[in-house]
Symmetry: D2
Subunit: 137 residues, 4 copies
Amino acid sequence: MTELEEFIKKIPFLAHINVELVSIKEGYCEILMPISKIHFQQNGFVHAGVQSTLADHACGVAAATIAPEGKTILSIEFKMNMLRPAVGDQLIAIAKIVKGGKTIVVTEAEVFTIKGNERKMVSKMQATMMVVDIPKN
Amino acid sequence: MTELEEFIKKIPFLAHINVELVSIKEGYCEILMPISKIHFQQNGFVHAGVQSTLADHACGVAAATIAPEGKTILSIEFKMNMLRPAVGDQLIAIAKIVKGGKTIVVTEAEVFTIKGNERKMVSKMQATMMVVDIPKN
Amino acid sequence: MTELEEFIKKIPFLAHINVELVSIKEGYCEILMPISKIHFQQNGFVHAGVQSTLADHACGVAAATIAPEGKTILSIEFKMNMLRPAVGDQLIAIAKIVKGGKTIVVTEAEVFTIKGNERKMVSKMQATMMVVDIPKN
Amino acid sequence: MTELEEFIKKIPFLAHINVELVSIKEGYCEILMPISKIHFQQNGFVHAGVQSTLADHACGVAAATIAPEGKTILSIEFKMNMLRPAVGDQLIAIAKIVKGGKTIVVTEAEVFTIKGNERKMVSKMQATMMVVDIPKN
């Protein structure tokens, strides 16, 4: 799984917003981001777009763990509910597979803020991923 | 509407990803972002999280144009379909109101890439916004 | 297109709720249902499940108009916003294609109530359809 | 809780498609429907519209269990993924609350087919409910 972790660290947008990878298992992915001012919307909460970036990415990686060699994952669509204002020290997205398939993998992710010992769910995503050939740039 | 424009420019996460405001009218908002490497996912396409940030924000601003004084808008939820790989010089999100209400405003946004004279729709969002009191930090 | 219309009239659940087909064009479908008491939820409004049935079906037929021979359409997922209570004489769903593809067709549908000359949008769906081989029963 | 059960049995559309209520607890609802030919789409599978009716209704009832007196629940929006063809003797929707709030209650439902001893998840919904005053007809 180390290759996959290496791969993820090189993704430009995730680096730009300070995302760190925590854990990958079959059908499961956890990613974490230390929260700082760059992530805020107008009221000092983490922007919903930041939350969806983490959740979408965790879903994609969870789906990738069951993709055959030579294949990769693209997000077809996702839906996310924001449950409460996101305030804290760290943001963590935990994704798992709802249903794996040859072409379509349905996933979901829960996003939490962590402040000291307290962990609160701030958003939840349900997302559809597609298994595709690795694009040639 | 200039105050609203000023307000938007001060949002930290939008500044961090180089979002610019183009146009606000009643029930309508257009925002633009010059595409650079910081926005890419692993295949050199604009990350779906970036697209959803623009789309969500445009929806929120479109909804805010009909909110009463002393009120602001929070995103309750959004759903977005990625239609094709997002490649180009600029990303633009155009949002409008589907149905305005006292508490709930339903909106939608189309996201396009622009490359020279060519404009392609790369994603589409349907989003639910809620009219709330301005949070006190 | 008459074969497709014949085909649609034989769908048991649509017959059970009195759905009628109005119009099919390439990438477009309109279906209509006279509203009666059988469609109501607890407050005398048309149940959201009825609205989603019409919208989903119209999306599927719109997508089917661009499917190659020997292929059919399955709904992968849909998202629907209910915009106002659905009250009237007829319910009509109008679907069109947002983006057609070989495997995935993204569609949307608007659902209206009709009462006399008045037409009101009561819900809006964004739906993802997949082109598949015709299942053998 | 018996009053709530009585209330549910009188809902016309649920009666029309043979929905039965199984179980209500705080923040939880299970509803069941014996599958028959009336529920089929063109390939002999339970129509996605039937599945969404059950899932949406179970979500609404789960949300209603935490609504204050004099209030009721309306569905604002839902999103559902169809996971596999729905074939079996019974369809069951199990809903729970993801996050309760004064105005907004976020819920989710899993829909299963039952055939003999076998139970398969066929769809999953994430839905946003709103606490409103009971409408006066």
